[in-house]
């Protein structure tokens, strides 16, 4: 049972346009959400996060939106650049007993930005 779902395995966008990557979750206990970016043969790298007390967080060209009522978040990249081509993972976490947060990851969306 997937608790974090990225229903689009791939997305193709023209350079300069907006890329919108979507993520849905089912666990209402999740209160912290992250996006990671992964290039081939490398580990994922942290991109941006958002706490459930916010509905938007912005960092340069990257903005994450959170809609708690819909259990949906999205990552917007504006403007998209060819170097943004990578696999993007959505992750969500909730406080576990013992005080730890262990993110649950989606399957990823492969973004291709065409020059």
């Amino acid at each position: 049972d997937q608790q974090v779902k990225q229903n689009s395995p791939s997305l193709s966008v023209q350079e300069g346009r907006i890329s919108i990557l979507n993520c849905d979750y089912t666990n209402s206990m999740f209160d912290y959400f992250l996006w990671y970016k992964k290039y081939p043969a490398e580990g994922p790298t942290f991109l941006i996060s958002i706490s459930s007390i916010k509905d938007k967080n912005e960092d340069g060209r990257f903005t994450v939106f959170l809609n708690k009522s819909a259990k949906h978040l999205s990552l917007h990249i504006v403007p998209s650049q060819p170097g943004d081509s990578a696999v993007y993972f959505c992750a969500a976490s909730a406080l576990k007993s013992g005080g730890s947060y262990i993110p649950t990851f989606g399957r990823g969306t492969s973004l291709i930005v065409h020059p």
Binding site: A41, P44, G99
Partner: protein, 117 residues
């Protein structure tokens, strides 16, 4: 400083053999995580170490999988009697933990690509 390193980068083994995968976390990071990514799948949590606390092993798929973390630093993931379905990329991550209930960014290593023939 160096990031998270993992070795070997690639491992090919025969079904039934044991394998050991190594992770060197970022110096000073007290939390260490193992994940695996099978083809077309997301990152599947395996095990979590935090300081001297008992590890969270809730993600280990079978008793063929085990992990140790010696001296609060280097970790070894061992898979005994490997099966073809164990073929995956095994990723290690580490993070600082400033206090209970705080969110910390995970820093991932490049992974070990395991192929079981």
């Amino acid at each position: 400083g160096a990031g998270v390193s993992q070795s070997p980068s690639n491992k090919v083994t025969e079904k039934g053999k044991d394998v050991e995968l190594r992770c060197d976390p970022i110096s000073g990071h007290t939390a260490l995580y193992w994940y695996r990514q099978s083809l077309g799948q997301g990152l599947e949590f395996l095990i979590y170490f935090q300081g001297n606390s008992a590890p969270d092993k809730s993600g280990l798929p079978s008793d063929r999988f085990s992990a140790e973390r010696t001296g609060g630093s280097v970790s070894t993931l061992t898979i005994q009697r490997t099966q073809q379905e164990d073929s995956a990329v095994y990723l290690c991550a580490s993070s600082l933990v400033r206090g209970q209930g705080t969110q910390e960014t995970q820093y991932f290593g490049p992974g070990t690509r395991l192929l079981v023939l």
